[in-house]
């Protein structure tokens, strides 16, 4: 595999704590990498480290062969990474339209059109404050904001939390289309079913380390032991 995006030996934490204890992974253009595991094992921390919110004490992060481990989040966005965080995923104070287009690159409006058909809520609520949306609707807004950025790599942290089943299907369809166009995805999910439908690669974290990984669709039997109580 020629990796579009790879990270190796990541060690990071907050203050004196170490959350990530040497994590590695890679994803090629047009692929989806799923990061699985119970809550509290370091999945969101990994995403924050990949986006540059949390400095890594050790390790390397490469996008299209370029080392980006030292870049701040706005610079990583410019390098071609889109990030849709798990929490506080939209600007509550801004309108839906402002959320979508605040820093959108040229052509975003055109890319929105087909997405707005899939998610009519966005057009209906266009001028409303995003803070009035439900949790699932905010997730959709965040996802679509990321999708119209049209970047080479998209990081999705729990994109389906609180989202209704039919909208999850639509999100999956968008991910497939963008993959076909060459975008790579890294997705953190607690929802195994989504990984079973979409994953090209997967890894399972526990206690800040990769405890299982593989390519292709994950076998439920191989993973369930790591994520069940």
């Amino acid at each position: 595999m020629s990796a579009r995006f790879e990270f190796r030996g990541l060690v990071a934490g907050y203050g004196g704590t170490t959350i990530l204890r040497g994590i590695a992974g890679a994803v090629a253009a047009g692929e989806v990498l799923f990061v699985l595991g119970r809550n509290g094992v370091g999945k969101s921390t990994l995403m924050k480290a990949l986006m540059g919110f949390l400095p890594c004490r050790e390790g390397a992060v490469r996008l299209d062969g370029r080392e980006i481990g030292g870049l701040a989040p706005p610079e990583r966005r410019r390098a071609g990474i889109t990030y849709c965080p798990q929490e506080r995923a939209v600007f509550d104070e801004l309108s839906v339209a402002d959320n979508l287009f605040l820093t959108a690159p040229p052509g975003a409006a055109a890319r929105l059109a087909p997405l707005a058909e899939r998610f009519p809520i966005l057009a209906r609520r266009r001028e409303q404050r995003a803070g009035t949306l439900s949790g699932g609707e905010k997730k959709i807004l965040s996802f679509v904001r990321g999708a119209i950025e049209d970047h080479s790599l998209v990081l999705l942290d729990e994109p389906t939390e609180g989202v209704q089943a039919e909208n999850i299907e639509r999100m999956e369809a968008v991910v497939r289309e963008q993959c076909a166009a060459g975008t790579a995805f890294v997705v953190v999910e607690q929802n195994l079913a989504m990984a079973e439908r979409l994953a090209d690669r997967w890894l399972v974290l526990d206690k800040g380390q990769v405890v299982a990984e593989g390519s292709g669709r994950p076998e439920r039997a191989a993973i369930i032991a790591h994520i069940q109580v």
Binding site: F53, P73, P85, R88, A89, D92, L94, L102, T103, G131
Partner: protein, 284 residues
């Protein structure tokens, strides 16, 4: 209407309008960025001295506007880089460092220009007849300009891309960075703009008040009280705060005397600080 009532009414309007503009810079610096810059009043003082310098040199008064804004903007840039950014998230130390700075600017002004009052002549002398009352032309012009200025800024903040980015940064700094906003740079620019506005305020009030090194203290306190009473982060809060503080001050001063007006403002401010520190119209 009785001309005397008209005059009083216009005085109150004048008090509110100028206070709103004077507090505007602090509304950006403190209300949006959360920086308690005590030296903000000294930037108003610097603006007033700029007006005096321009007038003493025999240059047209309007020239003081760009000069003061440039000088205060530059000062703001230095303050941000030297004191604000290194003390980020240490509100006590920010308060004290900028307090030291206010002392420094005051004493520097004192050392250069002395303690004496400088008076700046009205650039627009004469009166206008308003409903039978003869009202000073310059004051009337300021009321109109201040209201127009605050309205324009409110519109800009609501509609422009930069205004939206600032709102985004204030509401959710992490997400703002994730969507590519360089928050450090944006915050610095906003801070500099706030300081430049303080300079503008200084030019504006210079002809109406004695210009002296200690004039900044009153402005910072009144502006601060406006924000505390009105609530941070919204233009509506700023206007409400200016309305209450400026209106109350002018009203009580008119009925009793200036000391009573000032005392009333202090009492209201203390009550708000104690019981409702988020103000009337706080940001959600």
């Amino acid at each position: 209407m009785d001309p005397l009532v008209t005059t009083q009414f216009l005085n109150i309007a004048f008090g509110i309008a100028t206070l709103a503009v004077l507090a505007l810079g602090l509304a950006i610096v403190f209300g949006l960025l959360g920086v308690l810059n005590i030296a903000h009043g000294e930037l108003v003082m610097a603006g007033a001295y700029a007006a005096w310098i321009v007038q003493s040199a025999g240059l047209p008064y309007a020239l003081a506007v760009p000069l003061a804004m440039l000088a205060c903007g530059l000062l703001g840039w230095l303050i941000e880089a030297g004191l604000i950014r290194p003390l980020y998230a240490r509100p006590f130390d920010t308060l004290l460092a900028t307090w030291g700075l206010s002392l420094l600017l005051r004493k520097t002004a004192e050392a250069i220009w002395g303690l004496g009052y400088k008076s700046v002549a009205l650039p627009l002398p004469g009166t206008v007849d308003v409903l039978g009352a003869a009202y000073p032309r310059y004051r009337l012009m300021l009321i109109v300009l201040c209201l127009a200025g605050v309205a324009a800024l409110a519109a800009w903040f609501a509609k422009s891309g930069a205004g939206t980015r600032i709102k985004a940064m204030v509401a959710n700094p992490d997400l703002a960075q994730a969507v590519g906003i360089r928050t450090g740079r944006l915050a610095r620019n906003a801070f500099v703009a706030g300081c430049a506005l303080a300079g503008l305020g200084g030019v504006m009030v210079a002809p109406l008040t004695p210009v002296h090194p200690f004039m900044g203290i009153d402005y910072i306190l009144e502006s601060f009280f406006v924000l505390v009473v009105g609530g941070l982060g919204s233009v509506a809060g700023l206007v409400a705060g200016a309305g209450i503080i400026g209106g109350l001050g002018s009203l009580v001063s008119a009925v009793a005397d200036r000391t009573a007006g000032y005392t009333a403002v202090l009492v209201i401010a203390i009550l708000f600080l104690w019981l409702r520190p988020r103000g009337l119209l706080a940001r959600a």
